[in-house]
Symmetry: C2
DNA sequence: TGGCGATTTGACTAAATTACCAAATAGGAG
DNA sequence: CTCCTATTTGGTAATTTAGTCAAATCGCCA
């Protein structure tokens, strides 16, 4: 029987950090937009109705989870994905939606 | 250009809920154990060093995210996964670990 | 019926998250 | 150099989450 001891826990904390970063609608949206190509903060601002500082902090969470990197060019900061848009993390998003929908009979159940 | 308006946002909130549920090491551990087969709360208790009520609440979060269901049999409550252990949500966990590791040069980078 | 083991729920506290505003910083243009 | 734009950071209030203990439930068995 596997037990959640401290060394096992460290491994799970590692993974949980990535899921946690994806656990916010705005961040999930950002990740999907970046899947189409890099965007600078001001471009994301046009898409998202929130304070610029809020968006900046969401980007920082994604960066700390290893999901994106930033690249300063001129006075702009461009963000792009570190994961493949064809990878399981994206397939996973659809499965996530399906899990909830099929459980509670949502619109796309 | 796609915008995160209120209806779009509702869709992302839906998905984010599932990721959020996976964004805790204990819950991630529980999900992986359940991938091997159903377990009752007292069996999970043997694996996890936390208060029984804490475990119960984690299970409730997973249930609300549509990831598990419960099944009372006798005086025990058995939990089992609602998602396939072969699906992308599991493949995704490895990718999650890899994303962080490759970003920060972790042990399994 | 009475009590027991298993599990959930409620009350509560501490800690983390989120959002906004204002201020700081950094680079480029004039 | 100085202003302007782009972005991040710090402070703070509101909300949510995680964890613990105690109390409430529920199904069984004597």
């Amino acid at each position: 029987m596997e037990r959640l001891d401290s060394s096992t826990r460290a491994r799970y904390e590692h993974r949980a950090k990535v899921f946690k970063a994806l656990g916010h609608p705005t961040r999930l949206f950002i990740v999907e937009q970046l899947a189409k190509g890099e965007l600078c903060v001001c471009e994301l601002k046009k898409m998202i109705d929130a304070d610029l500082s809020t968006i900046s902090k969401h980007l920082s969470v994604l960066k700390n989870a290893g999901l994106v990197t930033d690249d300063k060019r001129g006075s702009n900061v461009y963000y792009h994905l570190r994961i493949s848009p064809d990878g399981s993390l994206f397939a996973c998003m659809d499965e996530a939606a399906a899990a909830l929908a099929s459980a509670f009979g949502g619109p796309d159940a």
